[in-house]
Assembly symmetry: D2
Homo-oligomer: 450 residues x 4
């Protein structure tokens, strides 16, 4: 997963982009970068967090009133400096910079074709394919046409912020997999993956970029174009709402926090169990646990204390010290848990290893019963559209029914919300991609040809 | 405030101390250090977080089966590398290392006296006075006697982990201002400021070090001694429970999380107001808001989203961008707040500036009313015992009555819990220091003589 | 200027490349990089010195028995991480990595043409043009053919180390501007810019790569090919001998140290002046001063002491402290200079500012006379083939006759060696490029078409 | 060995101290520090080079018009941040800061005594003893008296820069082991270990601080005092002239460079050998080789090329790559050496390992004969006064006669200068300590009592 932002202003934008990226940091911590336009396009990128890569001196070199930024969470392509974005290239039509969130499913086929034409790839990310296609079609005049031609070739998930030497362009793929929001501040425009990036610089939310929409911001005006397609059905990634986006993100009409609380409520209705206390797995289970508690009437209590400094690189405990590893992150709050029947709420189970360790830890702290409740359905299929799920064989739900998972992780009971239950939390506003739960991929990930 | 830890084992302890310090990181981020005993005492210290100061290679140089550690939050003495702890010194009785949490009130007088004897101070922290007094009385044989003589001279708050070339000693001042807990793991002993540091390395909590107690761990055994005094009354710092300690800390019989939830409940009983939603200031107001919601029946909702990466050093917004500064940390969740009557819950008000900015921000996000509820009484007096409160003149409650504060910060209503209310949350187990609320200092901070 | 190296072995080569680059560090300090082949090509690059960019952990990730390396001294293209080499790209024929020393004169024309074909440039260095042309012609089979086709298009100075997924290739342009040497160690081959890089890993010098030669090292064997051309005349860059190469470099039959001493001798013959002491400008004038002293019989003495730590980034003196700036680097040795008639020897004058400051400084230290002797002719024309000379207008000799320069820099007398004198130090072995002295460019730098 | 500096001015001195330390960097690379007086004394210290430890921001915090500085080369006391200087302490008389070059021989005895009085040592350097004694005797009024009393107790080598809250004091021990020079710039005073530190900031050399002299700089005036003693004989460390000081240092009337050239000449007279070329070991043998060549008439040529970047931390070659290790630093210049009878000149032999490796390397490069000539006598005894010689058993000359050493290192012949020869190069101006050559220690290093 990644986060992108684009700002168009009358003044220098580097600091705006910086603050926006900081607000999107949860979407990617591997690397980050900013490119700005000041007659010519300059950029700075680096491995690590926004606050580490950018200091006053870097921002000073990035003057200009149009800018785009990117935070990267390694998905396709490995962890390597050359894979950081924005990608910047000099082509016939001048310099182009792009920031890409999402994953193409046909990048291999496209790469091969472009290589046959004598092109050369300097990174291992599929975003470079997009840059090359844009370069091929852009002659310095009509960027919208170049984008449309590119869209006719690439398949998959992509939200893009594109900057030429004249304009800012925002693009969302026809399926609308990844979010992209528009904001306005006076005469300035901003596009960004989430509301937080727009709020932080004092801009007002305008709306989502629509699936298939191309937004052109140029000469102080915003224009909208659409790439027409009949194959694509709206299929917003529901994992943005389940886990990925911040609570203050509203995507395609649904606010993430409200969705999370509501799935907690619905889950309580679907699979109530009598207990003494509802405990969230911090921080992912917080909202769901609030909803579960509210609906069930069972009191909410924090029963696991998270170390605020987790995320820092620390010296790994040895295998023997495995217990240390868990407790460094989450320590059971004995006074809350001891002698209690605990309902533990989390947003999802992927591999199941963390759940197993947590339940063990909670039992050791004296819990009488531990019932695990998950506010999303079992994840059975890999994602090819940008969520960094492991391959199927590592997904505990891909080969185990719920009661078997319950046994493996050692819970007294385990329930997931149903897909229909989850859908009802979208109030009919959201046609989402449920491929990770049911394998129904909106685009066939095994593309053979273009 | 600071955090301290001491470990006595049969094996190398550096890694245990490291993990324990990591679990106490919230108690101090300015500097940290570890000293270990392996025939001779070695130590490593540095400015910054535990994860930055210690890497595998530093830990490797710290062999030995007794160790102490310290995380420092600048209180007395400025921010300077030489002020980091443990302090290690070579004296007649061999090397001594100490880690100190707390603040002396008579260190200036003692320093003067020692300087008159020709001593020299290389740091600006009062902990150095303790080291010098210990050195003066310790001749290599009876450390407990040296500690007692030292205790007869120093006044104020001090929890200490002391290491000689033979033993580990833990000390808590006769008032018991600062917490100090004992744990056991097999034959190993650990003393630490909070339970989390004991839990993390797989040890079991044994009990608190008692006010005035000197715990000697030597030759695999633990012995207890007491410094007899009649002047000292038990006066545990209640701010540990209000704010400072982690939720999983139990100090003198009261668990911090339970205390926090209960003060929220009591506050709701004391000063109910009708509203649509109870919103915590993250993370300090979480527990209180849960209690307030439970007692009042008004639903709990997260209405402010905290950026997980705050704490990193970022480029400061200019004065003009002041709003950015607030939103980088806490962004109002409009979908929760808009059109609502909001009860905002926090643990305390010190200067009042953050509260003012937050209320402004929440109103801008569309709140109809904002009622602020604080789970501790107004802070009117400075602390001289280790909490880093500003001088009186900067404390908004030192010169303003509650209704005036309410006006300044722009709330529709403002209520603090009463001291009696807060006291009832201690269930008679805790005789605490309430000086910051009522000026009743357990020790006169204006000491003239020893 | 840059330094390149390529190693072909039966064992891991990363460390060999590392040591070789360290021995070429004087050829470029801006950035460096290594690429190795282990089934696939991996690489690591960074800004700064070899010792800063590469630590054990980086070398560990670079397994493989073929490798190339590069140290960069910013010439064409600015100082930016993306300009570091080796450049690595994925093309139809697999991955290619190149390390380039030199400068093309027709890269702008070629870039335009390639951009018209839809290609995109991600760096601002002309080496990327070479990579793209190789990619265009290389289909995974015949790299020598691809190199020849590329050579038919590019004009200028280039010594190249190229690595495909099968082989190592070394190329030197038909003019032979930049050096490239071949070494052998058992069954291993090494190509490098200078002897020091070959010596350091215990290999024996074999010979130069010839102008226009393509050396293919594959399947344990070395083969030689030539790109036939009639336009190119041998024109080795004489500045390698004058200044750039290390004393232990032998290029096209002439050893740099011996050349330097000999030009000093010839200069003494051409322009003797009576004086008390011959003083070198450290380190560039050392060898010349030894020669001058020997031939003239005037004793050699160090009269300027160089700070060994210059090269480190230090806080710049203010304008007012200008004198500090000079003395930080070179401090006059008063005991040698006071009351003496000094012959100061240096290898070249470019802008003349350093000479002026030095002479001032030497006079202040009490010299009676200062005669400056330069072991190369006046530099009047810019270099387009890789030496980082400033544009003509900044060259003091481009617009001033020798006596005027002498006046500007404040010397009592100033003499340069004649071109013929310098030529005689090559003993007829070297047909060198003298464009910087006489403007006779072996290739017209104002290329209009390909 | 270490370098010290003290500056007294009307303006801020931090930058002066910084540049001076940079010019003394060769005297110590382990750590460095600066303390300045601006009403109160502030300081900053760190491990590493001056240019790494001090950036603009550090210098900004160090305002004040008196300052002292220190560069440390680990001698007594290990490599630990706490051992960096200046040492700063708060005593009865106010803050004191000291920078110390040299080594005490009775620090252990003094430490014990002070510890018996209840003092505590926080570092492992003997300089702390000096600080403690000063603190004991200084009551805020008469620093000269405090210095004298301190001098009556400490034995050994010490040049000191001392700063109180009022004045700057420079002290040189009665033997005058370590150098200390005085300079003047307008109304400003500077004291420093070597001339380079005085020259660099544009000050003029005034004279040496005399053995036993105490220089007080206060209220814009300089006063001189002497500590009277009858036991001490002048015994300047001759190794400053042999190796340690920069060529531009003049100590007690003898310039280091001239001394070095002259010992080369004297050595040629004492032990001429017929050969083709005189080659210096860079950089230590340069001056001696110039002298040897001049006197013998055998031409001087550089035959070993030093890598300018040695000094940087590089990845160590394995045992197998031992040859790499030598060549990384010094590469034989084959064109100079091949087929020649070489006289190799160096300043001293300590362990003999480097000489052995170099001679091997030179033979491999084709030398017909290798004659080693050393411009100091055999080092047979350890130094207790500040030169970091290894213990006697590691000194090759402590247990081997010259012909045996010659055999071990593999030279065709080996000659050292005689002590008398070396003495004649001092022209009767210098009564030096020759203990490392003949064991005649000016102070008995095995002190039993004070």
């Amino acid at each position: 997963m990644c986060g992108i932002v684009g700002v168009y202003s009358d003044e220098n934008v580097a600091k705006d982009v910086y603050y926006s990226l900081f607000s999107l940091q949860h979407r990617g911590q591997e690397s980050c970068g900013i490119a700005t336009l000041n007659g010519r396009i300059n950029h700075h990128k680096g491995m690590g967090l926004v606050t580490d890569v950018f200091k006053e001196e870097q921002l000073k070199t990035l003057s200009g009133n149009i800018g785009i930024g990117h935070v990267r969470y390694s998905t396709a392509g490995g962890s390597h400096p050359s894979n950081s974005q924005p990608l910047v290239g000099m082509c016939r039509g001048g310099k182009i910079a792009i920031a890409h969130n999402g994953n193409l499913v046909n990048s291999d086929v496209l790469k091969e074709r472009l290589e046959d034409d004598g092109l050369i790839f300097q990174t291992s990310i599929d975003s470079e394919v997009i840059l090359y296609l844009l370069a091929r079609y852009y002659k310095g005049d009509d960027i919208v046409d170049a984008v449309k031609r590119t869209m006719s070739l690439i398949k998959g998930a992509y939200s893009l912020a594109i900057m030429t030497e004249k304009e800012l362009v925002a693009v969302r793929d026809p399926n609308g997999f990844r979010p992209l929001r528009i904001g306005k501040r006076g005469n300035d425009y901003i596009v960004a993956s989430e509301d937080s990036a727009i709020d932080v610089i004092g801009a007002e939310i305008v709306r989502d970029v629509e699936p298939g929409e191309i937004v052109l911001i140029k000469d102080g005006k915003m224009e909208s174009f659409f790439y027409e397609t009949d194959y694509a059905r709206r299929s917003c990634c529901i994992f943005e709402h389940v886990y990925f986006a911040r609570n203050d993100a509203t995507i395609d009409g649904i606010n993430a926090y409200k969705f999370r609380v509501e799935t907690g409520e619905l889950l309580a209705r679907e699979s109530f169990v009598d207990a003494d206390v509802v405990v969230p797995v911090p921080d992912s289970g917080w909202a769901g646990a609030i909803g579960y508690s509210k609906e069930s009437g069972i009191p909410f209590m924090e029963g696991l204390v998270k170390n605020r400094y987790v995320g820092r690189t620390f010296i790994k405990p040895t295998q023997k010290e495995r217990e240390v590893g868990v407790k460094l992150k989450l320590n059971p709050l004995k006074e809350v848990i001891k002698g209690k029947r605990v309902i533990l709420v989390d947003d999802s189970i992927v591999r199941g290893t963390t759940s197993k360790q947590l339940i063990e830890s909670i039992r050791k702290a004296g819990a009488k019963e531990v019932h695990l409740r998950i506010t999303s359905p079992p994840v059975k299929y890999s994602c090819y559209f940008g969520i960094d799920t492991p391959r199927r064989s590592k997904l505990i739900a891909s080969s185990n029914p719920v009661d078997k998972i319950c046994e493996i992780i050692g819970a007294d009971s385990l329930r997931f919300i149903s897909i229909d239950g989850m859908r009802s939390a979208t109030h009919g506003k959201l046609s989402f991609c449920s491929a990770c739960f049911d394998g129904d991929y909106p685009i066939d990930p095994m593309v053979e040809s273009i």
